[in-house]
Amino acid sequence: MAAPEDLQDLALSEERIRGLVQQTRLADGRELPVLPFYHVLELARSLSRSKNHKLAQPRGHAVALVERAALALGICPERYLRNYDAYSLKEQLRLLEGDVAQVGLGGLGGHLLELLARAGVGHIRAVDGDEFVPSNLNRQLYATRRSLGGYKAAAAAARLRLVNPAVAFEPIAKFLDEAEMGCFVAGAHLCLDALGGLKDRAALLRQTTAANVPLVTAAVAGQSGFVATVLPGGPGPFDFFGAGAGAEDTLGTPAPAVATAAALMADEALNILSGRGPRLAGKMLVFDLNQMSFETLTL
């Protein structure tokens, strides 16, 4: 977050931003001051050019500074207009200041990352050592004919530059051992478990508990799946599942179920990052798309 003195330094004075605002009338008649998309980019460009502020490099960081400065003034960057007022401007600013550690960039991870980036989560570090293979194409958002054989982390980084450059995205193309997981999640506001399979779930949970970081987790098998939030020391579904084979080995992981789980994870992550608090702590929201049923169960 830019301090007030930074704003002047950055030629990002309150006056300059206010001068570019367009009053936008919402459907219910309320007025919302909006900073148009191209003005955000222009301001960011002028920041990047200013010699006395190295902070503003690269461009994406400058965009983030402009968006945060606008939100702090009660002005909505146009990019987030349709987040309003599902998220208040204060909550939107909290999202931009949010810092998440995401493990896995496959089925759950691709959809999840896309939703968080569009929502405006400011800092995302994501790790996956895997490369795309043809059997990923049925569900993994960043698996394309072009990305096959390449690192999932690299495809995610390329996509985020297109979707929202204000996100400070740190991709890591590596499989982490348990000690590395501990370093990876340290200091994050939230960890997202987008792993596939059961093998590494318990280790990640141990490390988020040790680092005192809340964890949003999910899994899918066939048309059913669940999403849960595990607060440090609290109960979670993977306390019960062991590390053996999961039902997905026989039922598969079709796209609608995976995307449903990812969307529910994203919403819960935004609940936590925006300051509203988790809705699924100690619970699991279970869905069965075959029956079109949803149920929240207490662990």
Binding site: L195, G196, L198, A221, F240, G246, V286
Partner: protein, 75 residues
């Protein structure tokens, strides 16, 4: 006495035909129902009764809702 039985994911192959009105006898526990449905012990990982996690020896009553889960880890 009837209960509702919901078998998730791979356990759905053990679902009785009358999931919304599965007949039980007084004194039946979750374990008794699981055995009657033929669900192998090692496949059952989580049991819910009326929306809350419950042990296998939970005594069932008329109208209870039972949810049975295998291990699920796909992503």
């Amino acid at each position: 006495m009837n209960i509702t039985v919901k078998c998730f994911a791979t356990l759905s192959r053990f679902s009785p035909p009358d999931v919304d009105a599965y007949a039980i006898s007084p004194g039946d526990t979750v374990a008794a129902v699981v055995a009657r449905l033929g669900i192998p012990e090692e496949e059952l990982k989580l049991v819910f009764v009326n929306g809350a996690h419950a042990p296998l020896d939970t005594l069932l009553a008329d109208g209870d809702r039972v949810g049975l889960f295998p291990a699920v880890g796909g992503g």
